[in-house]
Subunit: 355 residues, 2 copies
């Protein structure tokens, strides 16, 4: 029996999903020494006026999450850079007073490395957030934060995503409050994550609903919007569902028209401002007779056609770490139910080199 | 016979698509006096260090286009603001040295008005780009640029989109070169637009290919990426296709897996840097045996399964005005062929009020 023949479809992805609470524990303990404190101190010294992020794929969703943290908690304007402007188009913007954070699991994507090199030459303070301290992106930056997720073998990123979220949260928390920042709220996450993982059977049942769905819509607002984006990407790359993510507000500006009872909607309704803002969106979905599966607040779950309740009382800015877990499990189940192997999606390789 | 009974489905959308070259001529002649010169002069005086955009729906795609202009031509960092951070979350970022541009057809969306008010109070120079000089957004800003598109009655925005693109191009051109900026390149657009509109029969034939397609992918890079986004939105809101837009680079980071011969791909390959960058993407689509319809450079069109050639020699930064026309026509044809009325998509109204 060869190694290939003995492979269970989705086994790698399942193992890496299950590893997440352990990764978070490691990052909470070792992260400060492994780059978080030093990077935060550099950022505080430079006191940037604007924060830019550069990333692709799953890492771009971690960047979007961090953009909310910067806008809301750090009180600075933030943006996601289109890498092509500095690579293909050769733009050389004035980046004095700018912090540019490059986010990448492998740290190997040439366009991200080049973007950070250009940003540094143009006066920006540069920080790399990767899962590989020896990567080109880590070397290109003034400071490096290691997300300490360990080797990731599944093509569909899971543990590196939530490790990025937590690393960015802890980094910005230190920028705001200094390196004595309390991490109490984050310290509750690993146990909560373990409790969610123990409920995989609930997700397996939900996956049955979507066995034959070719199209899906995911939606959320605020801090949970990156969850909707990442959930859609997981469903696309593992189960080949045409899953489209919209902020709840943008959904009402046009895409709502494509929703009908045959296009299931997965809505994240968190226990905070973003969840409250979804209260304008859910009635509009009901008017379109949408089939809504709600992930989040138990009261919203109770009102939906299907759902998965998350623990209440978690600070909204940390809820994206927990929210994505049911979607990672769901994507894996739907893919495996359809006879696909989510560890090795068709047409993809683990490191994507774009220029 | 009542007015409603005599309505031909898609007649309003067709009329407004056809009006675009006339709108551009008006904007080229009257725009400088109608706000462009004054807004550009204010921006030059303030010399912002960062540019932020706030918009939703179609206008968000105009903002994305302008973000490329700012990064590449103006040489400043740029970002798209998540309106909820300043409305629902109450963020009060430090926006001194920031130019914030709000873009909206109606100028009436409460969250955009509030975002511009907050930005102004936080020290930003604010500019509104709308189709209604009497709107709340126009009043909230330091300066207003009227896109002069005339009343837009179709729910699916067409003429206001390309008017926004041209207004933003002309505005930033003036910021770079002063109010004596040559508009020679833009002056060629109306006649080129008329020539494209005369080829509606070609698009009607292409629409036949997609009569039963429920899913589509649109893709492009650089300046043409907003075209892919807007094309997908038109297909979603008028023909109810689950159309997903990806930058060519992001497509390779995961979503490529969902592409198979049953998910048609519409690729924009422009006559410039963005089109050249698509040369890495098209072979990967061919490996997935994708059915590709190419809009753009005649050489790329000749190699695709279907296509629509655009005139060569148009500066890449202006090509998005022309590129979107075949997609507007296509969305209308596909919708009408399916018995829908693209002038009044299900579940939508012309002004969307999100908070």
């Amino acid at each position: 029996m060869t190694a290939v023949a003995s492979h269970q479809p989705g086994a790698l992805m399942a193992a890496e999903i299950a590893e997440q609470p352990a990764v978070w524990r490691r990052l909470l303990v070792e992260g400060p020494a492994a780059g978080l404190d030093a990077a935060a101190a550099q950022i505080r010294r430079r006191a940037p006026r604007t924060v830019l992020f550069v990333a692709r794929g799953t890492s771009d969703h971690a960047a979007l999450y961090a953009k909310y943290l910067v806008e809301i908690r750090l009180g600075l304007p933030a943006g996601l850079v289109s890498p092509s402007t500095m690579t293909a188009y050769g733009a050389r913007p004035d980046l004095r007073d700018v912090l540019m954070i490059g986010i990448s699991q492998s740290g190997g994507s040439p366009d991200l490395v080049r973007s950070l090199e250009v940003a540094r030459a143009q006066g920006a303070l540069t920080v790399a957030v990767t899962n590989n301290a020896a990567s080109a992106l880590a070397r290109a930056a003034h400071a490096h934060v290691d997300v300490l997720a360990g080797a990731e073998r599944s093509v569909a990123a899971t543990k590196s995503y939530t490790a990025q979220l937590l690393a960015l949260y802890l980094l910005l928390d230190r920028v705001i409050d200094g390196n004595d920042a309390s991490t109490t709220a984050a310290e509750a996450l690993p146990d909560l994550g373990d409790a969610l993982l123990a409920r995989d059977g609930e997700i397996a049942a939900i996956a049955q609903r979507y066995r034959f769905a070719q199209r899906m819509v995911t939606t959320a607002r605020g801090y949970s919007y990156p969850t909707a984006r990442e959930a859609a990407l997981k469903l696309m790359e593992t189960a080949y569902v045409s899953a489209q993510a919209f902020s709840g507000a943008d959904l009402l500006h046009g895409p709502l028209a494509l929703v009908d009872p045959q296009v299931p909607v997965l809505a994240v309704v968190n226990d905070g401002v973003g969840g409250t803002a979804m209260e304008d969106v859910l009635p509009r979905l009901a008017e379109r007779r949408a089939d809504v599966c709600c992930v989040g607040h138990p009261a919203a779950v109770a009102r939906a056609a299907a759902g998965f309740a998350l623990p209440t009382g978690v600070p909204e800015a940390l809820s994206p770490l927990l929210e994505i877990i049911p979607f990672q499990l769901l994507a894996r189940h739907v893919a495996v139910d359809r006879g696909e192997d989510p560890d090795a999606p068709r047409g993809l390789s683990k490191i994507t080199e774009t220029l």
